[in-house]
Subunit: 164 residues, 2 copies
């Protein structure tokens, strides 16, 4: 639940890492990209990204809303959904369809079709670093004459921590 507890995992895998650092750098990368592309990382948007980086797992919109409220922001659903819309459409966060929840993007700098691994025990979500399937998937699509614009790949199972 707390950020320190979730520090035992990383969004790019299930290994320990320096969490305080990744929140910090995550925000910095976002800030830099927004400045560069003329996007506005407003206080609410920044705060939502911060809590996603902080918590380091998939958060529902209403959980985010609670955290916003606690931080003194407005707390009606559209507030969270708008910020999430901004973050997801610009690649700073992703929606996990399977959970109706959101995570900070682990590779905000590169264009990618993310692959997620969701532990059904601890609900930790890891974002795979590579996009290996894309070719195979596109082969199928080509055969069918289908043009892929966005692909969702979500694997559910058991993470190393819960398995051990």
């Amino acid at each position: 639940m707390t950020s320190s507890a979730s520090c035992s995992t990383t969004a790019t895998g299930f290994a320990p890492h320096d969490h305080a650092g990744c929140v910090q750098t995550g925000l910095e990368i976002a800030q830099a990209r927004c400045a560069q592309e003329g996007l506005r990382l407003t206080p609410v948007r920044r705060k939502v990204l911060e809590v996603l980086l902080q918590e380091h797992r998939a958060l529902g919109a209403y959980a985010i809303l609670d955290l916003l409220r606690a931080a003194g922001f407005a707390s009606q659903p559209p507030v969270a959904y708008r910020a999430l819309e901004f973050l997801t459409s610009n690649g700073f966060a992703h929606k996990i369809e399977r959970l109706n929840a959101f995570v900070a993007c682990a590779h905000p700098s590169q264009e990618h079709a993310p692959t997620f691994m969701i532990c059904r025990i601890c609900e930790t979500v890891a974002e795979a670093p590579a996009v290996l399937e894309k070719t195979a998937l596109e082969e199928i699509a080509d055969t069918a004459g289908f043009r892929i614009e966005k692909a969702i790949i979500e694997a559910e199972g058991i993470c190393p921590t819960c398995a051990g």
Copy 2:
């Protein structure tokens, strides 16, 4: 909207096909497999599968509920959700997480991690016949020490009909 309109596409691709036949055979396959495995294809479950085969696209639970009501069945949400739970957990139907909707399975006889192609214009959903990505996906999972139990692959884009 009507079943005849959706007949122009097929769940295993986007090509025309004999729709009346595929509803018929879909029901028969389900019936046979249930008899074989001791599963009970009760009237409600059968009806839900029938409307999914009939409509031949992703249907929301409440749309299914409307069709159940029209057919003289009970129409409270749990009725539909229970039938869908039965159908999905036994591989007769799939949930499209991206749409919060359900489709009849196009390959009910074989175990498979389905791959879907969703047209964002006409909302037609095609189920890819192959599972080519599984190896690549499992490679990633193995590297992370993650054990996959279920994988969701949903591609969104433009179908051949809408592109042409």
